[in-house]
């Protein structure tokens, strides 16, 4: 059985550092996008760190993850090395997908990271299948499937929850409800804006949790994972969160107000966590500087790794369109 989260000096600093790694990584990505080192679509995770981190805290190595196109936070929290992520966005063959996927399509077989999927709702059916295989081949393993609230508009969302419940599959559905499907406000898209009630309609155990609080997310994720490993079928977690940055790098944000963004920033998990750690004397100014220095160094190394990476040979363009064998 998983344990309830117990926040002590070590675990508190761990949570803070992990969120800081994601936040600073995203800042570097934005900078490198401006410098045209990173191209294509780039979707940043600022504001939603507590969701990926809280959920991953409850997972083990044997578990599987299906991510979305906003997958940097999922990947970092799952333990994919920043260097291979950065190299991927540089389009280098040392990247976690050999430079074929870019920002939206991080993959890592060793860490059971089944990819950032750029079709909204497209990952849910995959999670159903992975859980089917796990139930037969790796009993006890859980598949965590991330998607935004926009996915609730897709048929695959409903079909997948129904099937997972019907077949008692070990799937943890994680809805990152950030209130906007690109620019479409939830209340204009859904007749029922309470997303977890949709899961309830399929008799799937569910709860909505404060997605701006990593401790709350972790506690809920542990309850969910315990329930799933206990053989009770899937679990649906709606994490109510907010994206601080634009949808992508091409977004004038006409659909929301600056005031709304500022209001949500008051709930930013990073300064809140930092303040709490400082007030409870679990983080000294010196320790904070140490953590920040570690994170900056890690990002610096990741950028250097990406810069030094190699371009895949054009002769390899067709490699893996068809494969010769199933990788072990």
């Amino acid at each position: 059985m998983s344990q309830k989260p117990h926040i002590d000096r070590e675990s508190g600093r761990h949570l803070f550092k992990q969120m800081l790694r994601i936040r600073r990584f995203e800042a570097k990505c934005a900078e490198l996008y401006q410098a045209q080192k990173i191209r294509g679509f780039l979707h940043l995770y600022d504001g939603e760190e507590a969701v990926a981190l809280g959920v991953m805290q409850a997972l083990e190595d044997r578990d599987a993850v299906v991510a979305t196109y906003r997958d940097h936070g999922h990947a970092i929290a799952r333990g994919l090395p920043m260097a291979t992520l950065m190299a991927e966005m540089y389009g280098k063959m040392e990247g976690c997908s050999r430079g074929r996927g870019g920002s939206m399509h991080f993959f890592d077989r060793a860490r059971r990271f089944y990819g950032g999927n750029a079709i909204v709702g497209g990952g849910l059916p995959l999670a159903i299948g992975i859980a089917m295989a796990d139930k037969q081949l790796r009993p006890g393993a859980v598949t965590a499937c991330f998607f935004g609230e926009g996915a609730a508009g897709e048929g695959a969302f409903h079909e997948s929850i129904n099937l997972a419940e019907l077949w008692d599959l070990p799937v943890l559905f994680v809805c990152e409800n950030n209130l906007y499907a690109m620019g479409m406000p939830l209340e204009l898209a859904e007749a029922e804006t309470n997303i977890s009630r949709k899961a309830a309609a399929y008799r799937t155990p569910n709860e909505a949790v404060d997605g701006m609080n990593p401790i709350a997310v972790e506690a809920a994720a542990r309850r969910a994972v315990d329930s799933i490993r206990g053989g009770n079928g899937p679990y649906f977690l709606e994490c109510r969160t907010y994206r601080f940055r634009a949808h992508s790098m091409f977004d004038a944000q006409l659909y929301r107000t600056r005031e709304e963004i500022e209001l949500w920033k008051e709930r930013d998990p990073l300064p809140r966590m930092q303040k709490w750690l400082e007030e409870t004397h679990m983080l000294s100014p010196q320790e904070l500087r140490g953590i920040e220095a570690d994170v900056e160094a890690e990002i610096g190394k990741a950028v250097a790794f990406a810069e030094q990476g190699q371009w895949e040979k054009i002769e390899e363009l067709e490699r893996f369109v068809l494969v010769d064998e199933v990788p072990e």
Partner: protein
């Protein structure tokens, strides 16, 4: 395996029975294999292909799914990525459109986009074609569309032997393979050669040799083309009938060799002509075999309409033997 051997001793069987035996053999041979789809269990399959398999293998391996094509196909993809060897049945190719996103964006894309980290060793079977008065929404021939997609292999068994053995080869392949079974062929009967226990899924096959003209075809147009060759033979025209079998990747070598020898060619395809597999074949022949041809390439395809219900109208919409005969006559004995 004893029972299989007993069944195999009956060499005359229908295409439907050949499909059923292929699935049964796959389930016996590999515990990672399962059959999943609409009405494959209790109902026994829309075309009765999986009749009896639920009783034999149980509901874990013969899985009836809700009417949710996108999700049960996507689940097949995920299961294949995570170690199973699923066979997903889409009742008819007409419903495959509801799962096209999963097939194209996930199955066909992930192996390449993940840099080779993940494979999708999945088999999707679906019924295709017209000829049973099912009207437009149940009469499409979409195999040409799927043959457009890099990352897939597309098979079209036109014989009892291929219906019986293509599945095994498809399951052994590490890539996503789609098998199109023609609805009119399920009742076709034929004899299996007892010495044949496997087929390749790479090559086209010459089903009738001839020196005067090559008829390139597949699926239910194969028996129509063979019938045409019979008529033509009586008139002294020796037509060669080439069964494409594999629509992606196309076996250029066999097609080119045949056409270079006969110097004349008809492509017969139940799909619509515009943007079809017949268009692809004609283009390849013009690109590579232009100077070997003594006559223009002819194509016989379905009329470009939604296939109608009324029998005489449906018959007129599809490629038929007399058209193939006429086309051959016009090419071999030009006026």
């Amino acid at each position: 395996m004893k029972e299989l051997a007993a069944n195999a001793s009956t060499n005359r069987m229908t295409y439907r029975e050949a499909c059923r035996q292929a699935i049964r053999e796959a389930l016996i041979d590999d515990p990672r294999t399962l059959l999943m789809g609409e009405d494959v269990g209790l109902y026994g399959g829309c075309y009765a292909v999986s009749k009896g398999l639920l009783a034999e293998f149980g509901p874990q391996r013969i899985r009836d799914t809700p009417l949710a094509e996108a999700t049960f196909v996507g689940a097949g993809i995920g299961a294949a990525m995570a170690g199973l060897r699923p066979i997903v049945e889409i009742m008819t190719c007409n419903f495959s459109l509801l799962a096209l996103d999963q097939i194209m964006n996930n199955a066909a894309t992930i192996p390449h986009m993940s840099g080779g980290q993940f494979a999708v060793p999945l088999v999707i079977r679906m019924a295709t074609g017209a000829g049973r008065q099912l009207a437009a929404q149940h009469s499409h021939s979409l195999e040409g569309w799927f043959a457009h997609i890099p990352g897939l292999k597309v098979l079209a068994p036109g014989t009892i032997e291929d219906a019986r053995f293509m599945l095994k080869a498809a399951l052994a392949d590490p890539n996503p393979v789609i098998i199109f079974e023609h609805i009119v062929l399920y009742n076709a009967e034929g004899d299996l050669d007892p010495d044949v226990t496997s087929v390749d899924i790479a090559k086209a096959r010459i089903r009738r040799h001839g020196r005067d003209i090559s008829i390139l075809t597949y699926g239910n147009s194969l028996p129509k083309s063979l019938a045409a060759a019979e008529v033509l033979a009586a008139e002294g025209i020796e037509a060669e009938v080439v069964d494409l079998r594999v629509l992606r990747p196309l076996d250029n070598a066999t097609l080119f060799e045949s056409v270079a020898r006969t110097r004349r060619c008809i492509v017969v395809d139940e799909g619509w002509k515009s943007g079809s597999i017949s268009a692809e074949i004609a283009a390849r022949l013009s690109e590579d075999q232009f100077f070997e041809l003594d006559a223009p390439i002819r194509r016989i395809c379905s009329r470009e309409i939604p296939v109608p219900y009324a029998a005489h109208m449906e018959e007129a919409a599809l490629p038929q033997t007399p058209q193939i005969v006429d086309a051959a006559r016009s090419l071999v004995k030009p006026r």
